[in-house]
């Protein structure tokens, strides 16, 4: 049980970076659809840098810069060129995947450095949850801290409230003197950097090394979890742990169901998407109309200005 919990918390860590990062970006009204390609590119870049220099931290840094740059392109093309963010994001998804494959060829299937385990003495001995929360490494601790900090940041901090205003009612935010597009650039950069950290958290920790299409699919899952989690960091994290649990279960079942061994690891992906479908379904919506409070909690609305470019007059 303790080991299972610990492996779920660890498996979910990269997804948490990506999904919480995307939630920040979307809260400000920018949709960065490039995640699947962006994570592939940063996973490759992070591993390549750590492999070449032997410095894992530098790998994380470069990975963050790579995906922040990708996110910046999405934001810039929407804000400056007034292009469709979904279109540019989709093109970058494919371009990122192709680039990771082309540039990463020399680093494929090589043993390389990884994040070292750093259990916290004492605390990691707490029964049941000690190992899951305090028996991990810096990459996993970071994911836990990120959830708490982002939840506070979006709900309480001044700049967090401004970001949300920019994503909900950009005209009103503009009228109150908030620089809408500067906030959106900031949200895209921060969110993008976290997406890059997710890539490195895969290739340097949870899915060690690099191979063609190493993290393919995880970007789409992260995007789906943002919706599933209603753009709220804590619920987004719950979605990530749910997916991590599905992954761990699928892995365990491989021994029991050898006939399905090859497709079991891919099953959590459709399951997660269809969890989103059920949550979003019209039937559930009808059921919940009787209780507005429960409905608001279970079926949050997306940021009102999501994906809509804002042109200050």
């Amino acid at each position: 049980m303790e080991a299972t919990l610990a492996s779920i918390v660890a498996a979910a860590a990269p997804l948490i970076y990506a999904a919480v990062g995307e939630a920040i970006t979307e809260r400000a009204g920018i949709v960065n659809l490039s995640l699947d390609g962006s994570i592939l590119l940063s996973a490759m870049a992070g591993f390549a840098v750590a492999f070449t220099t032997g410095n894992v931290g530098l790998g994380f840094l470069v990975a963050a810069l790579v995906s922040a740059f990708v996110a910046l392109m999405v934001a810039w093309s929407g804000i400056r060129l007034r292009l469709n963010q979904v279109a540019v994001g989709f093109i970058l998804t494919l371009l990122g995947a192709a680039l990771s494959s082309y540039l990463g060829e020399g680093f494929a299937h090589q043993p390389g450095p990884s994040v070292t385990s750093a259990p916290i003495p004492g605390l990691s001995k707490i029964p049941l949850i000690g190992r899951a929360i305090f028996g991990q490494n810096l990459s996993v601790y970071g994911s836990l801290i990120l959830v708490v900090v982002t939840a506070w940041f979006l709900a309480r901090s001044r700049i967090g409230l401004q970001l949300r205003a920019v994503g909900e009612r950009p005209e009103a935010a503009h009228a109150r003197g908030i620089n809408v597009n500067r906030h959106r650039y900031l949200a895209a950069l921060v969110g993008g950097a976290l997406v890059g950290v997710a890539g490195a958290a895969f290739s340097l920790d949870q899915k060690l090394g690099w191979s063609d299409g190493h993290t393919a699919g995880f970007g789409w899952i992260a995007l789906a979890i943002v919706i599933f989690g209603g753009w709220q960091p804590i619920r987004v994290a719950i979605g990530c742990y749910l997916f991590g649990a599905l992954q761990v279960v699928a892995l365990r079942l491989q021994d029991d169901l050898p006939g399905l061994a090859q497709i079991l690891p891919s099953l959590p992906f459709p399951l997660m998407i269809f969890a989103l479908v059920v949550v979003n379904s019209a039937g559930l919506r009808r059921l919940l109309t009787r209780s507005p409070r429960l409905s608001r909690w279970l079926l949050p609305e997306p940021p009102a200005a999501l994906g809509r470019n804002f042109v200050p007059e």
Binding site: S77, V88, A98, L223, L267, V277, S281
Partner: protein
Amino acid sequence: MTGSIGARIAGLVAPVIVALAATIGLLLLADAPPFEALKLIGEGAFSGKTRFADTLMAWAPVAIAGAGLVVTFAAGLWNIGVEGQIVAGAIAASLAARTVPGDRGLVLTVTLAGGVIGGALWGGAAGVLKVKGKVNEIFGGIGLGFVAQAFATYLIIGPWKRSGVASTSGTEPFRPETWLPTAFDTRLAPIAIGLALAILIGVGLVMRGTRFGLRLRAVGSNPASARLLGVPADATTMRAFLVGGGLAGLAGAVIVTGVQHKLVPAIAGGRGFLAVLVVLLAGYRVRWVGPIALFFAAISVGSSQLQLRLDLDSSLGAVIQGLLVLSAVLFGGWFAKRQGLGRQT
């Protein structure tokens, strides 16, 4: 048309130059001779009838799926599920190829029709999720794509495995009656090319001169006001998904009957996503889908030569395609914005 001829030419040439420069940079980064590599791509795609036939056979499925995407884009839908719809069509076509007895004419007809039905089912499922379940078609489509892909892999290693060995390299080849007949001692299947051309023209005619085409565009540009004007928006959305999915499924059947002759796990192989890029670059206009798809098919087939001759990863082809579309879209936005500003002042 807005803008001067000069601006339009600049809009065409500038992205090509930028993409070419970036590609040359990437080749230099890999210590490869850039001009030789580009020449190899061109030769790999067009020199000799064998290569040219391969390029045309790579073109047909992308053109067919692209024509379907013109329909869904017209209705304002991001049918990224096209990749899964190709897989679903290929599975259905494989089922027909494995089970239907009889001569070539009958088997091929049923197999191709099976592909259409399989793809339409998958497209229709994305449509139901969208219309009834309020699920964004991007995520519905990606989710259904995961399901189709897992199902194809399951069939290949499970019920349809080769006698004795369960391997992910694919099923046993289907019997020759299910192969599209070829011509000129190459892999060129004229039926595939004819189908693709007919569909490109057909979709062009439907979009231009029919009530369905008009409704599609009405729903695509403004669903709410289309509904007020009496256009059945949900039904039109569903029909767009069925047509787009059906054509993607046909593309899958063409891959099975004309290229692979068996079911392999990577049966779609990114062709659906490539078709999305083609349609984006075509500006959603069907008359440009054919030529751009041919150009992209040539890059895909040509770049497979790089691996053999220069030991470069063949994914360079996909990089060039992505760079081309990205810079075309960015330049398009830039020129449009400049013209817009010009009008204001």
